[in-house]
Every structure is written in structure tokens, then in C-alpha cells.
Amino acid sequence: MRILLLIIGVLSASLVQAGGLLIVVSNKVPDNKISLEQLANIYTMKKVFWKNNIRVVPINHKVASEERKRFSKVVFNLSPKEVGDYWNRLRYEGKLPPVIQASDQAVLGFVRKVPGAIGYINANQKLTGVKILLRLP
């Protein structure tokens, strides 16, 4: 059983490595592209509104997920734990850190439902009802 879980873990990690990540937003977000710096500003809670004054709602994966490891490395060049320390400080300062969703499907569901939501998912997902702003390696 452990070996099977290990194989599944390695395979899922490989999938993230191979396809990269897509940055997806609700169709109600006016932007059609985003830079890596703007993405970092969103996930550090410095950018809180889209151009049409809809509030930005960033979404995270769970801290142990391969997607979050990849995202933390590419966007911040840090481990999920280091970025998590930063978000814990933000929470204490009264700012709401990114909402956590457990899977790509949950992220997509949240993005479709919440107008200002932005999240990252594996590039191999089928997409409907969302926009792609950026592809991360």
C-alpha cells in the first residue's frame, strides 16, 4: 500500500513538473493577462482589487501539495513553509490570507462561483467557465 501511494505521489509530482501550472480567474475579472510580479502582489495581499473594483480572492492548495510547492518556488523562490510563515503574520495583522482548496476541481469550482477569485491548477485540466491569465513553468 505504501509503495502504491509513493508511486502515485511521484507520478502526480511528475505531472505538475511536466505540464506546469495555469493561473485561472473568474470570467468577471476584466484582466486577460498578468505578470509574475502582479501575481506575487496578489498572493502577498498588496493588490486587493481588480480594475473593475471586484475584490481579489486568491486561492491556495494545501501546504503539502505538489502544486503549492511548485507555485511557491516559481513565484516566490521559497518553500511553502516559508511563504506560510509570511501568511500567518498577515493573518495576525488582520489581513485574510489565500483561501485553501483541496484539489484542482475545488479551485475551479471556487473560481467559477466567486467573481474576483484567482487560483492555480495543473495545466492538464479541462477548463470551462474560467479564464487563463498566465502559464507557469
Binding site: E37, K47, V63, F76, D85, N88, Y92, G94, I100
Partner: protein
């Protein structure tokens, strides 16, 4: 009466009666979210062995913070804390804790870069005062430099400005026209302040690295003195090594009321800390502080050696040895001894 007031406040925030259909997942360390509202907090248990005094086990803090992101104009936040309750004391005797409203404010977002905050806030003076929750700081013992010489809470109005591209320093201006709201009991603070104004400049150098400068001017309630304080703080990272430091210099003038004694007109403190990440879980910490209170003849000199163990993001175990010299015991809030703690964000 105080507990009833808190219940009313929580009910006004809508936190006590959330709609069940809005319920979302709770995860330890991440808090609980429901629609536009969230609830989070932390707890800290501390074992203290001051050499020459009875050892004790305390509930250092049980803190609950709640907030909402309702609209551009309504973003309330509050933190309520139960603090310093003795659980066990060598030889008996218990010190009962106090309920404290640490923060209670509303943010009005004026623009992408400007926020108006009204209510009771932590004053932005240095870094430690703004983020001093036990799971988020490396030492059990808070430095004098980050707590003693200035108003740590401001009750009034504050304007925060920050540019997302970091092209100029962030700043926060604040004004407390009178005294502290939800005043803390005497067991929790030795000084009270009134008519406080201040500003903090912050230059971010990365996600966590920064340099800051602070100014505060106000009046001490107990002595009637006026004071003007300048502060400096820095957080810098070099690979696995994180350095942080704070310094303050305050000048006191004016009336000194009976029962108080001004030994000198200035108060000075500086504090430096090195935190080395041995593994993601284990940290070794060395800190030093010098503090010269304007009402005390001698200065305090403190060296701390600590180990942090962080088995997961929301929890931390700490063990700390403190050596303190140079100040009469009646003044020393920090004595030579050992401290250990377990802290958890929830």
C-alpha cells in the same frame, strides 16, 4: 459586564450566528472561514523557572481574532485575549489572568493604496509590536525595546499607505486623541499614555526583509511627562540566517508627578537577534538587548539563547535560557532563568 460587551460585539460582527450554508472547511493553523467572515487565534503555554523564585506553568495567551471583509467601507477586525493565567506554581498561589481587547477596528479602503483604520490598533513602531503572537516570534520573552518605552496600542484613527510595486516606502500615520480604549488592567502594563501621534515608515526589501523608521510623541498619564521617541528596525535574511533588530531613543520632559522619579531625561533600548535555520523544523537563536529606563538608575543587559522546534506550520516548541544583569530586581521584568513554551495557531 465586560464579557457581555464582548458577546454583543461578536454578535454585531455576525460571527456568533453564521449562516450554515456558508460554512467552509476548518484547518488547524488556517482558521475558520464562513462567507465574508473569519475566525482564528492562538494559544501559548509557558513554563518559567526564574532562578531563585518559584517555578510556574502559565497559560501565557489564549487569543481569538475575528474579522470580516464585507465591503469597501466595512472590514472589521477584533482580537480578544485571555492573558497570563497561572496554572501551577511551586509552593502554591495562583495569579489570575485578564481578558483584554487587544484590537478593535474597522478598515475603510479609500483606494488601492490607502486605507483608513478607525479603532484600537497595535502601534506600528518597530516590527515586534505589530506581530507579537507567541507562535510567530522566536523568543518566549518579549524585549523591553519592543514594549516598554512607548504606547503599544493606539486608540483613534490611522492612515495606511502602500504602493504595491514598492517604489516608495509604505507609511502609517496614527493619532490617539485621548487614552487607550478598553484600557488594560494595571497587572498588564506599567505605563499609560494619552494624546499620542506617530508615524512609521517601512521599506520592504523582499517578502520578509525590511527596514523601518518610527516616530511617536505623547504624554505619560502616570507622571505627566511628555516624550518624543525615534525608532529604527530591520529584518534581513542571508540564506539560512535571519537577522532582526530594533532600537529606540526617547526624550522625556515636563511635569513629574509625586510618587514618580525621573533619573534622566532619555530612555534608550536596542535589541538584536540572529535566527539560524538548521533544518526547516529546528532553529537556533541568539539575542542580546540593552535597555536604559529613564526612571531607573541602572541599565538592563540581557543575553538569550534559544532553540525552536516547529514540527508543522501552526505550532512551535521553544526552550530559552536568559541571562539578565545590571538592574535591581524590583524593576527586572526579565530575570535570569529558563523558559519553555508550546504555542499553537488555530
Amino acid at each position: 459586564m465586560r464579557n457581555t460587551l464582548l458577546l454583543v460585539v461578536l454578535a454585531q460582527f455576525g460571527l456568533m450566528f453564521p449562516s450554515p450554508c456558508q460554512a467552509e472547511d476548518y484547518e488547524i493553523g488556517q482558521g475558520w472561514h464562513s462567507g465574508n467572515y473569519y475566525l482564528s487565534g492562538y494559544a501559548s503555554i509557558e513554563a518559567v523557572d526564574r532562578f531563585g523564585a518559584p517555578a510556574r506553568l502559565d497559560l501565557g495567551d489564549l487569543s481569538l481574532f475575528a474579522g470580516g471583509r464585507i465591503s469597501q467601507w466595512a472590514n472589521p477586525f477584533m482580537e480578544v485575549e485571555f492573558s497570563r493565567q497561572t496554572l501551577i506554581r511551586q509552593g502554591g498561589g495562583i495569579v489570575h489572568g485578564d481578558w483584554i481587547v487587544e484590537r478593535f477596528y474597522n478598515d475603510m479602503i479609500l483606494s488601492e493604496h490607502d486605507t483608513l483604520r478607525v479603532g484600537k490598533i497595535l502601534t506600528p513602531l518597530g516590527d515586534w509590536n505589530q506581530v507579537h503572537a507567541a507562535p510567530l516570534v522566536p523568543l518566549v520573552t518579549r524585549p523591553y525595546t519592543a514594549a516598554r518605552g512607548f504606547e503599544t496600542y493606539a486608540s483613534g484613527i490611522s492612515w495606511m499607505h502602500d504602493l504595491e510595486d514598492g517604489s516608495s516606502p509604505d507609511f502609517q500615520l496614527y493619532w490617539q486623541p485621548d487614552t487607550e480604549w478598553f484600557k488594560r488592567p494595571a497587572s498588564q502594563t506599567v505605563r499609560n499614555f494619552r494624546n499620542v501621534i506617530g508615524v512609521h515608515l517601512n521599506l520592504p526589501l523582499g517578502l520578509v526583509d525590511k527596514i523601518g523608521a518610527s516616530f511617536q510623541h505623547g504624554k505619560l498619564v502616570e507622571s505627566g511627562e511628555r516624550y518624543t521617541l525615534y525608532g529604527f528596525n530591520a529584518n534581513l535574511s542571508f540564506g539560512n540566517l535571519k537577522l532582526e533588530g530594533e532600537a529606540i531613543r526617547a526624550h522625556f520632559s515636563g511635569a513629574v508627578l509625586p510618587g514618580t522619579a525621573q533619573v534622566r531625561s532619555t530612555e534608550t533600548g536596542f535589541f538584536a537577534l540572529a535566527d539560524y535555520t538548521v533544518t526547516p523544523e529546528w532553529h537556533g537563536i541568539l539575542a542580546g538587548e540593552y535597555y536604559q529606563d529613564h526612571m531607573v538608575d541602572g541599565s538592563s543587559r540581557i543575553i538569550s539563547l534559544a532553540v525552536n522546534y516547529k514540527p508543522s506550520l501552526p505550532m512551535v516548541w521553544k526552550l530559552e535560557y536568559i541571562y539578565q544583569a545590571g538592574v535591581p530586581a524590583s524593576f527586572a521584568l526579565v530575570d535570569t532563568g529558563l523558559k519553555g513554551s508550546f504555542s499553537l495557531l488555530f
